[in-house]
């Protein structure tokens, strides 16, 4: 049993490694003190940037021993879409466990879940999403460079349709012109996105500065994944800072 489990574990670990391009970089660069070594416990921070639209986030990270692995981070983050005038936001809890580690890098498993809400002319919508991904990191002196690849499906969403949206159902039937649409709807798997980011963090004493850049695309949008008409602007750029405790 143990041998079979070990073989299966080795195989899946190999698959996980194949998911990210930078997973093999951790062993070939000499480094100084790692970010993680300098930030032994907790972090509270803020960040701002662009997730298609300008956002600002508050996040708190707790470092410690993982349930599944010796080293883990648990992050709770609230993100607000600024130019929606508080009409859009997200609360996400993420667990980041080190699967494979060396002195200069690590391959991590990222699991998370969260709730997002949005408001627009169609009404208000709430979606429950999960995060499944990997993150590879490389220590370079005080810098930690990395890459993150994650799949973010929205498992279920509920929409409360606005009067405008309900009214689009009227006038269809010549014998019943006033038929209105539903006041709301629950949709299974209403969204799917893939996030591919390059990340950087640096330790400056008790402070951490960080930046991410990459893509957040809807692969199921087919060739229209950059179509602004369909609301697709798949860019992510974030900068942030935090204080360790």
């Amino acid at each position: 049993m143990r041998a079979r489990a070990a073989r299966r574990g080795t195989k899946t670990a190999g698959l996980a490694v194949a998911l990210t391009v930078l997973a093999v970089l951790g062993s070939c660069v000499s480094g100084g003190r790692a970010v993680a070594q300098q930030t032994p416990q907790n972090l509270v921070g803020v960040s701002t940037g662009l997730e298609a639209t300008p956002v600002a986030s508050l996040h708190a990270t707790r470092r410690g021993s993982g349930i599944l692995a010796p080293q883990a981070e648990t992050t709770l983050a609230f993100t607000s879409a600024l130019l929606t005038h508080l009409g859009g936001g997200r609360l996400r809890l993420e667990r980041d466990e080190a699967l494979l580690r060396s002195s200069r890098g690590a391959l991590r498993l990222v699991l998370g879940t969260g709730v997002s809400y949005a408001t627009d002319a169609g009404g208000t919508s709430v979606g429950w999403h999960v995060v499944l991904g990997t993150r590879a990191t490389l220590q370079l002196g005080r810098w930690e460079l990395g890459a993150r690849l994650a799949y973010l499906p929205v498992l279920v969403g509920h929409l409360r349709l606005s009067a405008f949206q309900r009214e689009t159902f009227a006038d269809r039937y010549p014998d019943a012109r006033n038929t209105l649409g539903p006041s709301g709807a629950t949709v299974w798997l209403p969204g799917q996105r893939v996030e591919a980011l390059l990340t950087a963090r640096a330790a400056l004493g008790a402070w951490i500065v960080a930046g991410d850049a990459g893509l957040l695309v809807s692969p199921a949008a087919g060739r229209n994944w950059t179509s602004l008409e369909l609301g697709q602007l798949p860019l992510v750029v974030r900068v942030g800072a935090g204080r360790t405790f």
Partner: protein, 331 residues
């Protein structure tokens, strides 16, 4: 061992998620968010025609006696529908009025990208005309981009039409059309709400894409309001997202001005006094194309979105004052 446990758990989570995604992906998603199309809803008045090699259910309504001369009504807005133009059913006192949503638009059956072409649009109008008026030319009423589609039809079947009523038509060439395109203001709240909407909804299938586009259409179209403090509303059933995308690409370099110039029949252009397609635009870009055309300018307080609402009386009067069935044919 910890790494093994974690990877085993990861595999299980991935498998569970893959099963869920597969199950949810097989189910139709977002169909409750937009009205059903003619192929999905037999209660809708419809006509099935073969166009571009595909049989498609058109959402189509007729008004008046079939013995009257036929008047075809083509809606505005790529991907949109004839809902706003329903008041033109009043012309059924002298005409057999036929209104339909173009293939892939409104409540008509959705189509593939390969079915969006100049030839297929021309074929569609011709087949609708032939279905109701075989071998006999008809009157064509086109609103906004429906004027552009009228020019496409003229390019292929000029013999199909005796007279045209163009209600604030868009330009007949892509370069001029580009000047009338709606803005996407980079700081507008509705733009950012639309971008953030991906947190919950992504355009994974037709219904979800259509829903997304509908939600942004209202604030986007409100830019055409002449009084921003009282934004006008434009009633629609559905915006076919794929048709809007693909038609923009298909007609990116189109120019049908020559087809308009070759039309020998009479043309009446009806326009408002404000907005990018107002009477000034029509006199500059559309009127000079036709040999026998005039422009009727409606009164104040009407904009492109309210032509069939606040402007209903004026549009109907300007149409009746021109159409042959009302005894207004040219000598």
């Amino acid at each position: 061992m910890a790494a093994l446990r974690s990877t085993t758990l990861a595999v299980r989570v991935w498998c569970a998620l893959a099963c869920f995604v597969a199950a949810a992906g097989c189910a139709s998603r977002g169909d409750e968010l937009v009205p059903a199309t003619a192929d999905q809803d037999p209660r809708l008045p419809q006509l099935t025609l073969e166009v571009a090699g595909h049989r498609r259910a058109l959402h189509l309504e007729t008004f008046g006696a079939p013995t009257n001369p036929v008047l075809l009504v083509f809606h505005g807005g790529e991907g949109s529908d004839f809902r706003a133009m329903l008041p033109l059913a009043e012309l059924a006192d002298r005409y057999f009025v036929v209104m339909w949503d173009a293939r892939g638009s409104g409540l008509s059956e959705r189509i593939t990208a390969a079915e969006v072409s100049e030839a297929s649009y021309a074929e569609e109008v011709h087949r609708v005309k032939e279905h109701f008026s075989p071998g006999v030319p008809v009157t064509y009423v086109g609103y906004s981009s429906g004027g552009f589609h009228g020019a496409i039809a003229l390019a292929h079947h000029p013999e199909d039409f005796t007279e045209l009523v163009l209600i604030e038509p868009d330009a007949f060439d892509a370069a001029t059309r580009a000047t009338t395109a709606l803005d996407v203001p980079s700081t507008a709240r509705w733009v950012h709400q639309y971008l953030w909407q991906n947190e919950v909804l992504t355009p994974d299938d037709h219904a979800l894409a259509d829903y997304k586009l509908m939600t942004v259409s209202r604030p986007a179209l409100e830019q055409l309001s002449c009084d921003p403090s009282h934004p006008s509303r434009y009633p629609m059933w559905r915006l076919g997202a794929m048709v809007q995308l693909y038609s923009a690409r298909t007609f990116a370099n189109a120019d049908y001005r020559a087809a308009a110039a070759a039309f020998a029949g009479r043309v009446r252009i009806i326009a408002t006094r404000c907005g990018p397609l107002a009477a000034t635009f029509q006199r500059q870009h559309v009127l000079p194309l036709f040999a026998h055309a005039d422009v009727i300018e409606l009164g104040d307080g009407i904009d492109h979105l309210t032509l069939f609402d606040r402007g209903r009386v004026g549009v109907l009067a300007a149409s009746r004052d021109f159409l042959a069935a009302y005894g207004k044919a040219a000598p």
